[in-house]
Symmetry: C2
Subunit: 250 residues, 2 copies
Amino acid sequence: MLADDYPDGVEVVLVAPRNPLNIGAAARAMANFGFLRLTVVAPFEPLWREARSAVGAPELLRTANECATLAEALAGCTLVVGTGTRTHRKPEQPVVSLPDLEPRVAGELACGGRVALVFGPEKRGLTREDFSRCHLLAEIPTGARQPSMNLGQAVAVCLYELTRSGTESARDPTPAGLQSPAMSGTLDRLAEVIEETMTASGYSPQAMEAANRHDLRVLLRRLSWAETDAKRALGVFRRILWCLRRPGAG
Amino acid sequence: MLADDYPDGVEVVLVAPRNPLNIGAAARAMANFGFLRLTVVAPFEPLWREARSAVGAPELLRTANECATLAEALAGCTLVVGTGTRTHRKPEQPVVSLPDLEPRVAGELACGGRVALVFGPEKRGLTREDFSRCHLLAEIPTGARQPSMNLGQAVAVCLYELTRSGTESARDPTPAGLQSPAMSGTLDRLAEVIEETMTASGYSPQAMEAANRHDLRVLLRRLSWAETDAKRALGVFRRILWCLRRPGAG
């Protein structure tokens, strides 16, 4: 993919960034490498749009999206890539080294998908719950002695990697027979209705625990749903749920 | 090359950085990708070693080198790589796109050379005079709409690129028959003695102008001297100069 005409299908999502200077630095790196869509989730500082460090990117900050939750930010995305370095505990998601990420992203865009690159807050990075909404973990190959990167620098390195090859693959027409991948919001709705169905059906444990909910999110993302299939499953579970709840059932 | 055991043969040189936060950010990126040797040329702020942004890299800042001039900083280096984006006027040096830089650096290290990666100050980047001390210009492929990168982010992207491939080529033994490339300081001495020789020989223009001096630096770097050959040339010119200056000559 090429800087300057990067497809509109990749979003940069910053989760709970503390320092507006880092939001500005992320925006500047986006402008450098031709990315346009920024979403800021639950920022610490309400006046983050005024970040002075956003040289050349004030418009990008002005039109950035602000969401209260990561789930909301990701609702329209079909491939969610969490970013991190080697410090993370053994992840539950497939891990790809950053230098190998570009073909995955280009492939998703070629299928008409929408990709989110998710970055955690400055001090602690993404949590296990954040990662449970990711299909993939992209690992920046930092050294073990000082793995933790500055947020703005991590964004710059990831966006550089996505544009460095300059391939045209992202703009290939959608290959015939490939189906649009499921949006994160569809998977969230599916998870909810499955949970309700499990509770309504008296599946043990009767009340879903946070841990089960987490495992369900991870599982659904591991399955690589097409959007049409996920919607079909949603219909199936809704129907089951309706049956379970009608008077006289169970 | 690999983060965590990057050969000691690559130096990061920051020319006239204005903001200590950026020096700290550069140091942090060096620590992330396993680079150890930092030189700061004519920093604007005398207390730059205290940069708070150097998370995980205080030792690296403490042992960093401080020089008054770029020439002094580069004296021991054999391959000097200036960095920039696409804004620069038509360069006089060979240009390599950043994704193609690693093999050049690895090759130089394999010959026993020492490499400098040179970054210009925040506002204006490297000057034409700075570039005249470079063998090569590495161009970061930013987009034309917002080419100018933040200094710390530019350092992070370049160092990521040098370590991303994880090849072992840099640690190959020196191939037989390859000679050590000339150090920048040797080329500077050679340029001086050539200039003195030209003046002493009455070469027109009699007094070297700044422009000629610049062209000479560029020319010498384009020639890819081996250190032994550069020293041999130095001896030749010194001898000529001695002859020109002895009483009764000319």
